[in-house]
């Protein structure tokens, strides 16, 4: 199964344009209103804001049963639709009981984006990522997503994964302090997003000074309202 190795012995990132995955994970949950429900599916699609759903282009996933009659699934939805970060997400549930089946009404929600920032007053870091998830009823239901932040004055950005290291140190330190990194998080309007920072110092003249730190504010993270 193993083919060509891409392991980087020095701990460097793989030789790739990092990520670029234009989706994020969004959990949807269902609570069985009565016993005897065999399966629940969620059908979903998206459209520019205000446009009607095209179900022929939709997708579906079976919700996984959890304790207490709860079922959940993670939808992969785009970060942009027609180049816009805000759009409409449509979904409905298809419920199969012992001897019946029914579809719920269609729910349409606004997906919106918000910018979060990290200020680095001393210029300690060369790159910053944002790990984020919608605030769920319990932390185990969180769906981690990643956004590479863009530093003011630098044009680099990658949406889905940590930035590639390299000679970025020279570019970063040439910028005036404080360094401000801006990342984007997405979710359903009216919900909260919890996020933390991935703080990266790479490309230092002395490689021993390279480091990566995951700062989640002591486990609680930070939140932003959408």
């Amino acid at each position: 199964m193993v083919s060509s190795p891409v392991t980087s012995p020095s701990g460097q990132a793989p030789p790739a344009e990092r990520g670029g995955a234009p989706v994020f994970g969004l959990r949807k949950s269902w609570l069985d209103p009565r016993p005897g429900i065999a399966m629940v599916q969620i059908h979903y699609t998206w459209s520019p804001r205000g446009a009607a759903p095209d179900w022929a282009a939709g997708d579906e996933v079976v919700l996984a049963p959890q304790a207490g009659g709860v079922r959940t699934a993670v939808l992969e939805v785009p970060r942009t639709v027609d180049g816009e970060t805000d759009y409409s997400l449509h979904h409905f549930f298809f419920v199969v009981g012992v001897n019946d089946r029914a579809a719920s009404p269609v729910f349409t929600e606004d997906i919106v984006a918000r910018e979060v920032t990290y200020e680095d007053p001393a210029g300690t870091y060369t790159s910053v990522g944002v790990v984020w998830s919608a605030v769920e009823a319990s932390p185990e239901l969180g769906v981690p997503n990643y956004t590479s932040a863009v530093m003011d004055g630098l044009p680099f950005e990658s949406m889905g994964a940590a930035p590639e290291d390299g000679s970025i140190y020279e570019f970063v330190r040439a910028q005036p302090l404080p360094h401000v990194f801006r990342g984007t998080v997405w979710g359903v309007r009216g919900t909260s997003i919890r996020y933390g920072h991935h703080l990266i110092r790479h490309g230092m003249p002395d490689p021993a000074e390279n480091t990566e730190v995951w700062d989640d504010n002591g486990g609680t993270g930070w939140t932003v309202e959408l």
Partner: protein, 225 residues
């Protein structure tokens, strides 16, 4: 429509802060250009000791083959993990799997079935897929093809029309659908069959080799890919 494939990771050492899976799909015999495009997802941390992490990946039903100008339902899935540990990161080897499909036929000899799906999953029931089956003689452009069922507002009309559409077809009715997975893997599978018309005969069940049952569990067929 997609299918779903769970990829897990077990921490073998302490100090792992985050694990990502990087992946790409290519036509058979081809390799990804990681510098051009690929997907990356953060694995969900399920805790435990050793710590378990998992990501269910949404997989395509076909991949566009640019060299030949067609889409192919069999393709290659390439992936590696990126591990953040003790303030550094490292990557695993690259793994490549051949994704293959298996077409399934259900022969309804007495015309009882009006709606049928396959319920299947790669390996175990961790990421099940529910795929509508269709009788091959039903016109592909009919508004009553199985894939339109879920978003069709008037379900009773759909049941009525589909019943009459099938009734005039000679028996047996042969329903088809497709499953995917990595070569060498096992797919678990059941049918969900229903007779949704006439109303007084409405009935449905999940079906495995041992007869009717609930979805999932041991009463299922195993397909080795």
């Amino acid at each position: 429509m997609s299918w779903y494939y769970a990829k897990g990771w077990t921490d073998q050492e302490d100090g792992i802060e985050q694990v990502l899976i990087h992946y790409a799909c290519t036509p058979p015999g081809q390799w990804p250009d990681w510098s051009w495009s690929h997907d990356a997802r953060v694995l969900q941390d399920f805790g435990g000791y050793p710590r378990q992490r998992l990501k269910v990946i949404r997989m395509p039903r076909d991949v566009w083959d640019m060299e030949n100008g067609w889409s192919t339902p069999e393709y290659r899935f390439h992936y590696y993990f990126e591990v953040y540990q003790h303030g550094n990161r490292w990557t695993t080897d690259l793994f490549t799997e051949d994704i293959v499909y298996r077409d399934l036929e259900y022969a309804d000899n007495d015309g009882w079935v009006s709606n049928i799906c396959i319920y299947w999953s790669v390996g175990d029931w961790i990421a099940p897929v529910y795929s509508p089956m269709e009788e091959s003689r039903v016109p592909a452009d009919s508004e009553f093809v199985a894939r339109n069922y879920y978003s069709y507002n008037d379900k009773e009309r759909f049941h009525h029309e589909k019943y009459h559409m099938l009734r005039v077809l000679d028996l047996p009715h042969r329903f088809y659908s497709r499953m995917w997975g990595p070569r060498g893997a096992t797919i678990v599978q059941q049918y969900h069959i229903g007779r949704m018309y006439p109303p007084e005969e409405k009935s449905e069940t999940w079906l495995g080799p041992n007869g009717p049952s609930g979805p999932g569990g041991d009463n299922c067929w195993f397909h080795h890919l």
